[in-house]
Amino acid sequence: MELGKPERVYTVEPIRDPVPLTRPDETPNEPERRPEPEKVPVENAPMRTGPVRRP
């Protein structure tokens, strides 16, 4: 492939990515999961302050 006489050299830095964001090769997103409730270690769990019932 002949391009003819060289004329000039320049640097191109696009402010937007020329590669489209839609990339069908990627696997589809997993369905959103509900966040699990935060687990609190027993030793850090708040102490009960109410009355204690007898069994």
């Binding site: 006489k5 060289p6 050299v9 320049y10 191109v12 830095e13 020329p18 489209p20 069908p24």
Partner: protein, 182 residues
């Protein structure tokens, strides 16, 4: 009073690009079966163009063990080499299409391509460091309906517009592509 020239801060001037929009050139690819589907392949080096990522140029001359003019490894494109990702201006595009479109295995695809990074401009086109298709035109005159649909569907994986061109000659394809791209 000591006057400090503005350029004396850190010694090196910042790297400021010459352009902030990609250059758009034209190319011809082949649509080839890559084992999974149809991909774009460069015509000369048969490089497969990735989907969702730019093609990055590398010089292949130093890889040829028997090449009589060994060169040092260098970034592509280089001024004293012919390496880089090629694209041409519209008048030169005709040179890269076969006269008749009665192909079988290799299906030519015409398209526009974004070029960026280090870009060397020539009289008839460019050699670039990075490239990605901008739009694709598939001449379908010699393809069966099923094959045409399969190729266009696979090429849509590049995430850019893919259009069918019905003309059956190189000049007709270029006329149709020019009007579609206008």
């Amino acid at each position: 009073v000591k006057v400090v020239p503005p350029s004396s801060g850190r010694g090196q001037p910042p790297d400021v690009p010459d352009y902030i929009e990609p250059i758009i050139g034209w190319r011809v690819w082949y649509a080839v079966d890559d084992g999974v589907g149809t991909s774009l392949s460069s015509v000369v080096h048969r490089t497969l163009w990735p989907r969702g990522a730019p093609l990055v140029a590398s010089c292949r001359r130093f890889r040829v063990p028997l090449w009589p003019f060994q060169r040092q490894r260098h970034d592509a494109p280089a001024s004293d080499c012919k390496c880089g990702i090629y694209a041409v201006k519209v008048p030169s595009l005709r040179l890269y299409l076969p006269e008749t479109l009665a192909w079988t295995e290799l299906v030519p695809v015409v398209g526009r391509v974004f070029l960026w990074g280090s870009v060397h401009e020539h009289a008839a086109g460019w050699r670039a460091e990075r490239a990605y298709p901008e739009s694709l035109f598939v001449p379908i005159a010699e393809l069966g309906r099923r094959r045409a649909i399969a190729i266009m569907s696979d090429l849509s994986g590049y995430g850019v517009p893919v259009q069918a061109v019905e003309a059956g000659t190189a000049d007709g394809v270029l006329d149709e592509v020019s009007s579609l791209a206008a």
